[in-house]
């Protein structure tokens, strides 16, 4: 029996044309598999105009967050500044202050743009902490479905899901000094279970799929099965949730600041500005409303983008 196998092995080396052909495919490969997968995803993403609007809004928000301070007309209005003579100017009445001024005479447009950084940073920091940890917990618990690991991990994450996120965030931040860093930590601490839950749901439904069983009986290591076989299949739902949650985290962040547990005045945090302006709501509505609309603008962007990503990963085959 063994001798025959050796003859076959020699035949591998002799086939030169196989090697040339493999070279050929190698060069041509660089673009083919990724290109058409991306093309298909982009086609489905862009078929809904709203998703493109979402993408545009998100790009604008991130641009403002990063380069805001360089393009605002009155950068010094971001800190301690007051100019009572220009107090409460109505929006759209003067070119000098296009969106009017607040109770200290500071330009509302400048402070709102500066505010973008705090909201986007909040989302970025929270998501970068929450997504990896939650996904790994969900992956490990999902793969070891119905074992003690599953019960332990998912029950721990249930603790944080037992209460609405805003309540827990408020309570935890309240116990610490009101500092944006603590707010972010509090939100992250109780947001990872949501990603653990979504990954767990996806992985636990895939674990009995035949391609996983096939990898197991061939002797593939657990780590490789989890991270290389199962995880890529959850990329769609996780990416969608990440984008939608970016908006959610901003709402939570703004709510914390609104209550006074986030960034303290005079920092131009959108939530804090909305709270600050609410005392003058009756007559000088713009002081509070403009930052509030800015928050909604960012969140709308993330929601539209998230739905677009969901469509892109939807595996709907053609009809026949």
């Amino acid at each position: 029996m063994a001798e025959e196998n050796n003859d076959e092995k020699e035949s591998f080396e002799e086939d030169e044309e196989i090697e040339e052909k493999v070279e050929e495919i190698f060069e041509e490969r660089e673009e083919s598999p990724w290109k058409d997968a991306l093309k298909r995803r982009w086609y489905r993403f862009s078929s809904n105009p709203l998703s493109l609007v979402g993408l545009a809004i998100t790009i604008i928000s991130i641009f403002l967050a990063v380069f805001g301070e360089y393009i605002v007309p009155y950068p010094e209005h971001g800190g301690y500044f007051h100019n009572y003579s220009d107090r409460f100017i109505e929006p759209f009445t003067t070119l000098e202050y296009p969106l009017g001024t607040d109770n200290y005479g500071r330009d509302v447009l400048t402070r709102t743009i500066l505010g973008f950084r705090y909201s986007i940073r909040m989302s970025a920091v929270v998501l970068s902490l929450v997504v990896p940890s939650g996904v790994v917990v969900g992956l490990v618990a999902g793969y070891h479905k119905d074992t003690w690991i599953d019960t332990l991990l998912m029950r721990i994450s249930d603790i944080f899901i037992a209460v609405p996120p805003l309540v827990l965030a408020l309570s935890i931040t309240a116990m610490l000094e009101p500092e944006p860093l603590y707010a972010m930590m509090a939100v992250s601490l109780m947001w990872w279970p949501w990603f653990a839950r979504i990954t767990y749901n996806n992985v636990s439904s895939l674990v009995n799929e035949e391609f996983v069983q096939s990898a197991e009986i061939m002797g593939d290591s657990k780590i490789h099965i989890m991270f290389s076989e199962l995880l890529p299949n959850c990329a769609g739902p996780i990416l969608t949730k990440m984008t939608l949650d970016a908006g959610w985290v901003i709402i939570i962040g703004a709510s914390l600041s609104f209550v006074g547990l986030g960034a303290q005045p005079p920092t131009p945090d959108l939530g804090t500005m909305v709270a600050g302006g609410s005392d003058y709501l009756a007559h000088q509505w713009w002081v509070s409303m403009i930052p509030a609309l800015a928050i909604s603008f960012i969140i709308l962007g993330f929601n539209l983008l998230g739905d677009g990503i969901q469509d892109a990963f939807e595996e709907s085959g053609g009809g026949s």
Binding site: N5, F12, K21, V22, P33, I217, M218, G219, D220, P232
Partner: protein, 350 residues
């Protein structure tokens, strides 16, 4: 006489459910020789797929034991040695489900090569996969970097077969490999399987519910019903001179296309539904549906007895009255006067 590649003795596999115990496999014994295709046929709930999965270690057996080249493998695949895992592999029923949708064909077919580090570096992997794709009639240029959802059902199953033979195993379990394929594509896949079996002298456990397929690939066939063997025989004997009523019923339901086939399909039908594996009928498990049912079929469960050379049957009728010689006329006579008609069914819907 080729020695035994696989030996299975009194294999049992029960599944504990909330509502009771499902006896998927209820004490079966068989062996598979080198370079032999053993067929397992039966309807859903017969336990044929579970048998394949237990052999591969997806489920550990509840009772009995299995040995592969004299090494005991009655343990889940995780605990089996790498050399055994390299020497066995499996092709699954649903072509779409058995390939990872996010991987390219190169990654999928190359996975076993990587696990058993039979190649160093991407270049040699691509060459080995190139060769494997050629053996399953898939042009490597077109398919190497494709993803499963860009492949037809037949092409997916060909990729699954290429993956299964990648480590040059001596035994492959084929769990209804072509039931999801159209007839025209199924013929191509079956030809590939038969050629590979000769070329690499492998042994197959071929599982299907389609008797036509079985007849054209299996050397020996075993028919299963609710976890037990009812009849085991060489392919010709099994199809030319079937003895067990259930085998005849299955043959009778086969949709024939040629005259010669008509002769092989007795006009017998089973009655009622397949009982649930949760509460198995007493005595012979087929008595609730068997047209030739007798008193003793309800009490005693017939054993698998070697009625002829290499021809085992588990049926009281066939065994004759206790140990009296088996009389073939009695069975044929009963066949003729049983006529299926609709009113009789309506009356007796017990």
């Amino acid at each position: 006489m080729a020695e035994n590649l696989i030996r299975v003795e009194n294999l049992k596999r029960y599944f504990e459910m909330e509502t009771g115990t499902v006896k998927a496999i209820d004490d079966i014994t068989f062996d598979i020789k080198e370079n032999e295709v053993m067929g397992l046929v039966g309807e859903s709930g017969s336990g044929k797929s579970t048998t394949g999965k237990v052999l591969m270690g997806i489920h550990p057996p509840t009772g009995g034991n299995i040995s592969f080249r004299e090494k005991d493998i009655s343990i889940p695949s995780a605990e089996r040695s790498k050399s055994i895992k390299r020497d066995m592999n499996m092709v699954f029923q649903d072509p779409g489900g058995s390939l990872n949708p996010t991987k390219t064909v190169l990654d999928i077919v190359g996975l076993p090569l990587r696990i058993h580090d039979m190649v160093e570096g991407k270049k040699e992997m691509a060459e080995r996969v190139y060769h494997l794709l050629e053996t399953v009639d898939l042009e490597p240029e077109r398919f190497m970097y494709r993803r499963p959802n860009d492949l037809g059902q037949g092409e997916k199953q060909a990729v699954a077969i290429a993956r299964a033979i990648a480590t040059d195993p001596s035994f492959i379990v084929l769990d209804e490999p072509t039931s999801a394929l159209d007839v025209s594509i199924q013929a191509k896949i079956m030809n590939i399987l038969i050629d590979l079996q000769d070329e690499y002298n492998m042994s197959y456990l071929f599982i299907t519910h389609d008797l036509g397929l079985m007849r054209n690939i299996a050397d020996r066939v075993a028919i299963m019903y609710l976890g037990r063997f009812f009849e085991v025989a060489d392919s010709e004997v099994f199809f030319e001179t079937p003895l067990h009523p259930y085998t005849k019923v299955l043959l009778g339901s086969f949709p024939t296309t040629t005259e010669e086939e008509e002769k092989l399909t007795p006009d017998i039908n089973a009655r009622g539904e397949i009982p649930s594996a949760m509460d198995l009928p007493s005595g012979c498990k087929f008595h609730t549906r068997c047209p030739f049912k007798e008193e003793r079929c309800l009490e005693k469960e017939p054993k698998l007895v070697e009625v002829e050379e290499d021809h085992f049957v588990a049926c009281h009728l066939v065994h004759g009255v206790d140990d009296v010689e088996y009389d073939i006329e009695k069975v044929e006579q009963v066949e003729r006067d049983f006529e299926y008609d609709i009113d009789e069914i309506k009356m007796k819907t017990e």
